[in-house]
Amino acid sequence: MNSSMEHEADDPHIVGYGTFIKVWLALVGLTALLVGLSVAGSPNLALVGLLVITPTKASLVFFYFMHLKYESAALKYMVAIAIAVLVIFVGLTFTDYLFR
């Protein structure tokens, strides 16, 4: 029993330091890109930065740092539903404002 518990303690699914350091480097790189695009002065580029790079950064944090990638399907669906509710809530408010 003891030996099997020892074995379980060395869970093969512990993600090592390396993965998280790579994710951190990606986040820093994306931040540099975001700042670069907004400094470049074009409003369209800055908008692309806001609408594409920012959600990408948030997804990296959710999937890796918050461990979502390794969670059960049920938890993933719950998070997806919560974010969908937020998107519907934001989307409806904006359509109401833009087309009234």
């Binding site: 099997s4 518990m5 074995h7 379980e8 303690a9 869970d11 093969p12 699914h13 512990i14 993600v15 090592g16 330091y17 998280f20 350091i21 994710v23 951190w24 986040l27 820093v28 931040t31 975001l34 700042v35 907004s38 800055a46 930065g49 806001l50 920012t54 950064k57 948030a58 944090v61 959710f62 890796y64 740092f65 918050m66 461990h67 390794y70 969670e71 059960s72 938890l75 719950m78 998070v79 919560a82 974010i83 509710v85 937020l86 809530f89 934001v90 408010t93 904006f94 404002y97 833009l98």
Partner: protein, 221 residues
């Protein structure tokens, strides 16, 4: 044994074991604890989501005034604070990896580093706000009330949203101090680390919110 069960689930070994195998009568519900934390995170997403909607609406009503007001924020401080928070998220997650690998001291060092970075963030925030207030830019100030409505809204949202975020950072620091004590007293161990993991989830959420605040306020000019 239950190793095959764990293969498709990253939960810790303790979660799969019947209660009492480690210490008599102790019940652990790893999945329940984590689920509870996620539900709390959803409420936080909706809370900040509402504020982001308010920002979006007012910005579409006053695009030029928002643009002009955002130009007065310190981009360098905003970017530095982003890097500080991103790095603190890394040390937080490394602290959890370390305790799972039974490296207690390393875990405590990573957690303490996270706290130091959280403090650095707040100190930067303090100097940023201090400079703004020194220039007469704070809600209700004479200087600000003399400016166009859009700029007043921008600074109201700026103080409201970064202030609420700063409050979350402060709460996170208190939570991490408690975690540090629990780690030291072996209440958080390689086979029982859900408290540290939930504290981590909260801290990463604080990081995610800042990821959105950076482009909306500091890079909006």
């Amino acid at each position: 044994m239950s190793a095959s069960v764990e293969n498709h689930d990253a939960g810790p070994p303790a979660a799969e074991q019947p209660a009492g195998q480690h210490s008599a009568g102790e019940h652990r519900d790893y999945i329940g604890a984590k689920l509870g934390m996620w539900i709390f995170i959803f409420t936080e997403l909706i809370l900040f989501g509402g504020l982001f909607v308010a920002y979006g609406m007012y910005r579409s009503m006053h695009p030029h005034e928002f643009h002009h007001a955002a130009g007065e924020l310190n981009v360098v401080l905003g970017v530095i604070n982003t890097l500080v928070l991103l790095t603190s998220s890394l040390t937080m997650v490394l602290s959890i990896v370390a305790i799972r690998l039974k490296r207690k001291t390393q875990s405590m060092i990573f957690l303490a580093s996270t706290m130091v970075l959280g403090c650095v963030f707040l100190v930067n925030k303090f100097f940023e706000w201090k400079a703004k207030i020194h220039h007469g830019l704070y809600p209700g100030s004479e200087h600000l009330m003399a400016r166009p409505p859009g700029e007043r809204l921008f600074f109201g949202l700026y103080y409201g949203m970064t202030g609420l975020h700063g409050l979350h950072v402060t709460v996170g620091l208190v939570v991490m101090a408690i975690m540090l004590v629990l780690l030291r007293r072996d209440k958080i161990r390689h086979d029982d680390f859900i408290k540290l993991e939930n504290a981590g989830l909260y801290w990463h959420l604080v990081d995610v919110i800042w990821i959105f605040l950076l482009p909306l306020f500091y890079l909006a000019a």
